[in-house]
């Protein structure tokens, strides 16, 4: 306990990094649970004061196109598969995980690339940019966000950074094992490989934390309509008006 990085001796007796200490998994799990429980408690207390949730009835506006919803869920699925196949053996659940892991990894990589390309050229990329005004948003209750709130943008970019790290390091690790596409090469000195494992481990831990947080907010009563929109594509005009500034986001009507 207390180790964050696992070290080992390389073939010549020198100490090199092996990877993240998986004890941290428990630290992260506990930390996330504590934080979210605290948030839930605070929200529960606050909930007594104001209780005016917008109605989900009436006119609907489009929040997520169906293709984006597909992207989201495939991405979610692959990330869950990755977390499960990656972490289960560490906590002692024995099965042949590695093939599932890299297949899920490839799926995630593919979907991520497609998402990046699509978001740059076919979607409103600006709606996700975090500007100075976004940072003021949490401190000014009069300000409403455009399509995405500060928290949502923050979560998105945090996930982006973490997923990109996981993918980049994962692909480097993928090169180190035999696959249908290549035979493994010893392309990296052990010390560098150790750094890659460390980054993969750290970003995995972050991803676990982010995923937990994301799920938590997705099932918060006041945010549940966003989750619904990720299934059905729409939110009600009431929900939109209560949470977004129409000047900054003018979605089209849903069918």
């Amino acid at each position: 306990m207390g180790e964050i990085v696992r070290y080992k001796r390389d073939v010549w007796g020198e100490e090199v990094i092996l990877g993240v200490s998986w004890d941290l998994l428990w630290v992260v799990a506990v930390a996330v649970l504590v934080l979210l429980a605290a948030h839930a408690t605070v929200m529960a207390v606050l909930a007594n004061k104001k209780m005016d949730m917008p109605s989900g009835e009436g006119k609907r506006v489009v929040r997520h196109e169906s293709i984006d919803r597909w992207f989201h869920w495939v991405m979610a699925l692959s990330i869950f598969a990755l977390i499960l196949t990656g972490i289960a053996p560490i906590v002692g659940l024995r099965f042949a995980w590695l093939n599932w892991h890299w297949m899920a990894g490839l799926l995630l990589s593919f979907i991520t690339v497609v998402h990046i390309v699509r978001s740059l050229f076919w979607q409103d990329f600006k709606s996700m940019i975090l500007g100075p005004r976004d940072f003021a948003e949490p401190f000014d209750s009069t300000r409403l966000p455009g399509k995405y709130s500060f928290e949502q943008k923050g979560m998105h970019w945090a996930v982006t950074v973490v997923v990109m790290t996981v993918i980049a390091t994962g692909l480097l690790m993928f090169l180190q094992i035999d696959s249908p596409f290549w035979e493994r090469t010893n392309s990296m000195p052990e010390s560098q490989l150790g750094l890659v494992f460390l980054l993969h481990g750290l970003s995995t831990l972050a991803l676990v934390a982010l995923a937990a947080t994301h799920i938590y907010f997705a099932i918060r009563p006041e945010k549940l309509f966003y989750t619904r929109s990720m299934f059905k594509g729409w939110i009600s005009e009431d929900e939109m008006k209560a949470n977004h500034d129409p000047n900054l986001w003018s979605p089209k009507q849903a069918d």
């Binding site: 073939v11 010549w12 007796g13 010893n186």
Partner: protein, 807 residues
């Protein structure tokens, strides 16, 4: 000639100790206050020590001190490829960097793990051809080869030259070393069959059973070192200067040695024994340094591996007209050897080749320490050349025995690089005797016959080594009670030649063996400098010295008798431990009486004066210390003239299972031509022992280093694939020609090394025969290679790879 001792079995005095466990090897000694040293060895194949921080280790309870290369070499390490006592410039994994002494081994090892050594890593190389290639790493600091008297140098070939060689072609680069005789081109022109191939042979470790452990302590300014050697006087001679102690103050104790095979002949191949000596001096306590198997593998020596190319031409009548040989020999991380030269020399001698050209270059690799190993060079090439001879016989339609008989060396022949005459040579007789005992004709009818999955292979092999030297000294003494003391510095490593060569002295004096004491075991028993017991030379070299010393003693006895009883020494004869007047046998003196008279007279009779002029310094110290005690015979051996060869021939039948690549050795007959047989049981042991080594060379033993990081992969007996009782025949038949050699007083020549070559050759020949004459051009030929060949599978092994698997 009817001998009293020569040619007869006897019980060497140490055998009882060997079967009861009483005889002591270095590690069996203890001494009051003894502490234990362990080594920190290099984990890196090529590095430089930048810093050693042992603060934490030295602060531990039970730790007594540290010895580093700086302690051993205050003026800097000697510049050579030779193994150092300790080094700051390791060139192989496992090279000793420092030693630490502690109350017990556990503490020492734990303390060592707390020492922080900072290394600067340097590029390393495991395959000499990779080092030869332009831009390839060099194994040493300063080059990849060492030129005698000149220092380090770097040999480089172009990448194309290396690639072409690996592809099997004749190397085109300038060699480091060469010799040639005869007109090679003309000889090849006259040849009806020419065979050309690239080949590899593995270098592999000696793996003596006794690791090179040593114990040392100092007392009254004298160093007492319990160690291991092939010959204690030869080793002590060099060891004193390595430790830096005057020869007079150095006592080397070595009752028995658990195997040498070339690596314990000289002090510079086993300098690690200086570690406990130096440590003991530094911490003022007796120090035992046990060497582990792992360490022994790294520094205990290994044979040089070959990456070679050979072209042989045979005339229509089967005469080997030409041999052209180009060898890159693997010098390892430390040490080296002249194996390549000896290989070419051996072909010239064994096959009386009309024209020979040798070209060779010796290149270092960051792998195990190299040095002479049983038949260095001769035995590697034996396994390569035998199947080529068979191929020639097949192509030329000549019987396989016949082609060997056509080319055989015999009495009166010359051979080798310098075309030196043999002292004697009875290979034709050996071939004939072997063929008969083996029942060659009948067995040859089974050659290549298949029975189920098994195919019979018949193999014939020949071995050679130059097996005798001269120039050593002899001391024998007759004590006042009439006992003969033969002082013998030849080590006790299992040949029993320390005892059998002593019998030459007993033979001269016709002394019953019970009245003879062999004085050996420790240098403070005052030993003459004797053969290092390498190169199969003891029997030749030290029967000469002991015979000479005994003759000197005899002459002195006759002189003393004449002084006492009148007349001239020439008038005296001797028998039954008594010297008497030839004319009047009743007038005489017993040996004891003569000894007493000699002692009373002193001077030259007791070794106090008139010593032979050329006596070695080492011997002089011993003689001076013995002077006055007894009647002494002293002899300095003069150089002999010609080449005393050791020859062997082996016939074998194997049953090769072509589905598993495994074979049974059904029959093996090996015959020695080593002059007069001095000690039949000892000779048999050399022949069967050599056979086991030959089986190892031809089929099993390996030396693996991981190309990724330079770590040794074959460190113990299992991974080195040392042949076991189940890999060798249940019975090996032996025999000998037993014809005397004129340049040895009892007619003897050595045999230990060729005994291995003939078997390696015969086995390679039989393997090839069982596979329809396929030539692997490699040693060893392992099961996987045979399976791949039979199945037509191509291996991914690097062609001509060294210190690795081969294809």
């Amino acid at each position: 000639m009817a001998y009293m001792h020569i040619g007869k079995d006897f019980v060497p005095p140490d055998v009882n100790g060997k079967v009861t466990g009483r005889i002591k090897y270095a590690e069996d000694y203890t001494r009051e206050g003894m502490v234990y040293a362990r080594l920190l060895t290099s984990p890196i194949p090529h590095a430089r020590v930048v810093n050693i921080d042992a603060t934490e280790a030295l602060a531990m309870d039970g730790v007594f001190g540290l010895l580093t290369a700086d302690d051993v070499y205050p003026d800097g390490e000697p510049q050579s490829t030779g193994l150092k006592v300790l080094t700051n410039e390791p060139t192989l994994v496992g090279e000793p960097i420092l030693a630490l002494a502690a109350i017990d081994e556990k503490t020492a090892e734990t303390a060592i793990s707390k020492i922080s050594v900072t290394f600067e890593r340097l590029p390393f190389v495991l395959d000499p051809l990779d080092s030869l290639a332009e831009g390839g790493p060099d194994a040493y600091n300063g080059g990849n080869t060492y030129v005698f008297r000149q220092g380090f140098a770097s040999e480089k070939w172009s990448a194309d030259q290396v690639a072409s060689f690996r592809a099997g072609n004749e190397p085109t680069a300038e060699p480091q070393q060469t010799f040639a005789y005869g007109d090679l081109d003309a000889a090849l022109g006259e040849s009806a069959f020419v065979y050309e191939t690239a080949f590899t042979t593995a270098g592999y470790p000696h793996q003596s059973m006794e690791p090179r452990s040593a114990m040392a302590y100092w007392e009254n300014g004298k160093l007492y070192l319990h160690g291991t050697s092939q010959s204690l006087s030869a080793l002590a001679d060099g060891m004193a200067s390595i430790v830096g102690v005057p020869q007079e103050d150095f006592v080397f104790i070595n009752e028995a040695t658990g195997g040498g095979f070339g690596q314990r002949a000289r002090a510079n191949s086993i300098p690690s024994m200086a570690i406990p000596a130096k440590m003991s001096q530094k911490i003022n306590r007796p120090v035992m340094m046990r060497v582990t198997r792992d360490e022994e593998t790294a520094i205990g020596g290994a044979r040089q591996g070959f990456q070679g190319w050979i072209k042989c031409g045979f005339k229509a009548d089967g005469t080997m007209a030409a041999a052209d040989l180009y060898i890159i020999s693997d010098n390892g991380g430390k040490g080296g050897g002249g194996d390549a030269y000896s290989a070419a020399d051996c072909i010239s001698i064994l096959y009386q080749t009309e024209a020979v050209r040798f070209r060779g270059t010796s290149i270092g690799s960051n792998t195990g320490h190299r040095g002479a190993q049983r038949g260095p060079g001769q035995n590697q090439i034996a396994a390569i050349i035998a199947p080529i001879l068979d191929k020639a016989a097949e192509e030329l339609g000549i019987d396989r025995l016949k082609i060997r008989q056509i080319n055989t060396p015999q009495n009166g022949d010359v051979g080798g690089a310098r075309q030196i005459p043999f002292t004697s040579a009875y290979m034709p007789e050996a071939l004939k005797m072997g063929a008969e005992q083996f029942n060659l004709e009948e067995r040859m009818a089974r050659s290549r016959k298949r029975n189920g999955t098994k195919v019979t292979g018949i193999g014939i092999g020949q071995g050679y080594h130059d097996a005798g030297r001269s120039g050593m000294d002899g001391i024998v003494r007759l004590t006042a009670d009439g006992r003969l003391k033969v002082h013998n510095g030849v080590g006790n490593l299992g040949t029993y030649s320390y005892a059998s060569t002593s019998r030459a002295a007993a033979e001269v004096l016709q002394m019953p063996w019970e009245h003879v004491d062999i004085v050996t075991g420790r240098t403070d028993r005052h030993l003459p400098i004797t053969s290092p017991q390498d190169g199969s030379n003891s029997i030749f070299t030290n029967t000469r010295t002991n015979y000479g010393a005994a003759m000197d003693l005899l002459n002195k006895m006759k002189e003393l008798a004449a002084m006492e009883l009148g007349g001239d020494a020439a008038d005296y004869d001797f028998a039954d431990e008594r010297v008497f007047k030839t004319a009047a046998p009743s007038e005489g003196m017993t040996f004891a009486e003569i000894a007493q008279k000699g002692i009373a007279l002193g001077g030259k009779f007791t070794g106090a004066s008139d010593l032979p002029e050329e006596l070695n310094d080492f011997t002089k110290i011993s003689v001076n210390r013995l002077a006055g005690e007894s009647l002494m015979g002293i002899y300095h051996d003069t150089p002999h003239n010609n080449n005393p060869p050791g020859f062997t021939v082996t016939f074998t039948e194997i049953e090769m299972d072509i589905e598993t690549g495994k074979y049974d050795i059904v029959e093996m007959v090996t015959i020695g031509d080593c002059g007069t047989v001095v000690h039949p049981q000892g000779l048999k042991n050399q022949l069967v022992g050599g056979a086991v080594w030959g089986i190892g060379l031809a089929g099993y033993e390996r030396h693996l280093y991981d190309p990724q990081n330079g770590l040794p992969a074959s460190t113990g007996y299992w991974q080195s694939k040392i042949p076991t009782m189940m890999d060798t025949p249940a019975k090996i038949k032996t025999g000998w020609v037993d014809l005397p050699d004129p340049e040895n007083p009892v007619g003897a020549r050595g045999i230990g090394e060729p005994a291995m070559g003939a078997v390696a050759a015969a086995l390679a020949s039989a393997i090839s025969d069982s596979l329809d004459g396929h030539l692997f051009s490699a040693a060893p030929v392992t099961a996987d290679m045979i399976i791949n060949h039979v199945a037509g599978v191509t291996s991914e092994a690097v062609p001509l790879a060294q210190n690795n698997f081969r294809g």
